[in-house]
Symmetry: C2
Subunit: 223 residues, 2 copies
Amino acid sequence: MRSRPEDPDLRARLVAAAIRLLAEGGPEALQARPLVAEAGTSTMAVYTRFGGMPGVVEAVAEEGFRLLAARLDAVPETADPVADIFGLALGYRQAALDNPHLYGVMFGLTAPAGRRVPTVQVTAGTPQLGQRAFERLTGAVRRAYDAGRFHVGEPSSAAAQLWSGLHGFITLELAGYFGAEDDSLAQVLAPLGANLAVGLGDDLESAAASSLAGAGAWLRENR
Amino acid sequence: MRSRPEDPDLRARLVAAAIRLLAEGGPEALQARPLVAEAGTSTMAVYTRFGGMPGVVEAVAEEGFRLLAARLDAVPETADPVADIFGLALGYRQAALDNPHLYGVMFGLTAPAGRRVPTVQVTAGTPQLGQRAFERLTGAVRRAYDAGRFHVGEPSSAAAQLWSGLHGFITLELAGYFGAEDDSLAQVLAPLGANLAVGLGDDLESAAASSLAGAGAWLRENR
DNA sequence: GAACCGATATAACGCGGTTATGGCACCATG
DNA sequence: CATGGTGCCATAACCGCGTTATATCGGTTC
């Protein structure tokens, strides 16, 4: 029994405003009062809809994973699964670079707004959502095994290895541990992917060719 | 000209207390009043010594890198550089597991105590200190090239690739994206290292042997 | 149309980082 | 040994921000 038809638009508006605040001003800009002002409501909405600011942060992380998944889903699937892996990795990295603070919230890299209740703990996170966003990646890895390109170990392990390398690279890149963006891409991420592919069973020439193919396809898609 | 000989012990005590608070209660336990109470002083000490809580966090991160460097320096250097790389990786991971919150602060994974001034931004960090802690790793990589074990690409790139994989693995492990600890070690980190080594030029049997040797040496050192 | 229920606007609360203020220990001088 | 000065430190107050108590208003139900 409901007294007022809660318009679901308000929740979506708050999440959108939160992502905007986060993108523009970083974690410390994600505050209750500016947030509700931007959405044209009062602080109570945060509590009736999210239970508090940590709930907002969680909703932002969820939306971030959803956006990431959508972005990866937009990467076309080709006949070369290893090239697809490279393309997905580039798209993944670009998503992180486009909104670093959102990426940080998604993986608990930052804990904005409220320390009372630990929002996104180092040891917490939302593994389920992360898995969902990586179905595309695990799918491409599986296809690489099916095609005989990979044959060392098994797909789930290989996907975890690739994900570790990619996530670690992006984290260190965002933290400023590498130099210029283009350099780090060509000097770290690309060889990392190629070397891992070789270790997983691909031969050197195929890996190099797929690296170029994947990067080329990604560049064509993204201008 | 100095009126009172500032005893450097107080600063060290505050940093030690901060690390203890962090280890026991996580980022949100790292607060000014409990901190100064534990060190037997008042809140002003935080400002005269560190300029504010963000300064404390920064000092904690620095001390964390120093501790990490010391820990890696304690790993013995053998005639097998690839085995040494595995040993260093295991020591590095163990340091992160021993105090996950400290590791989080070091790499800006959490931003405790104070949002006014962004303490450890996603885009900030202290790259210099990180580099210092990895001299041992880069050294072992260079020796692997000198010994002819690695010959694809160049040492600095290879070290960055290995670091990316290791850091990414640890971050995802701490975030709970992998299952049990032992499983993730055997199923993700170990093959990740071996596959990368193969991609960098090592042959399969040597990489597998060095993996076992490095793990064995590390286990002997650490009970 | 009356009663009820839940979301919301307003205003106040409490915690925690910060800062204004006064005192005091130490060093430098004569 | 007296005296002035310097700057660290203890106390207490300030302020911002997440949160919460309270009153109100709109919609649904009988």
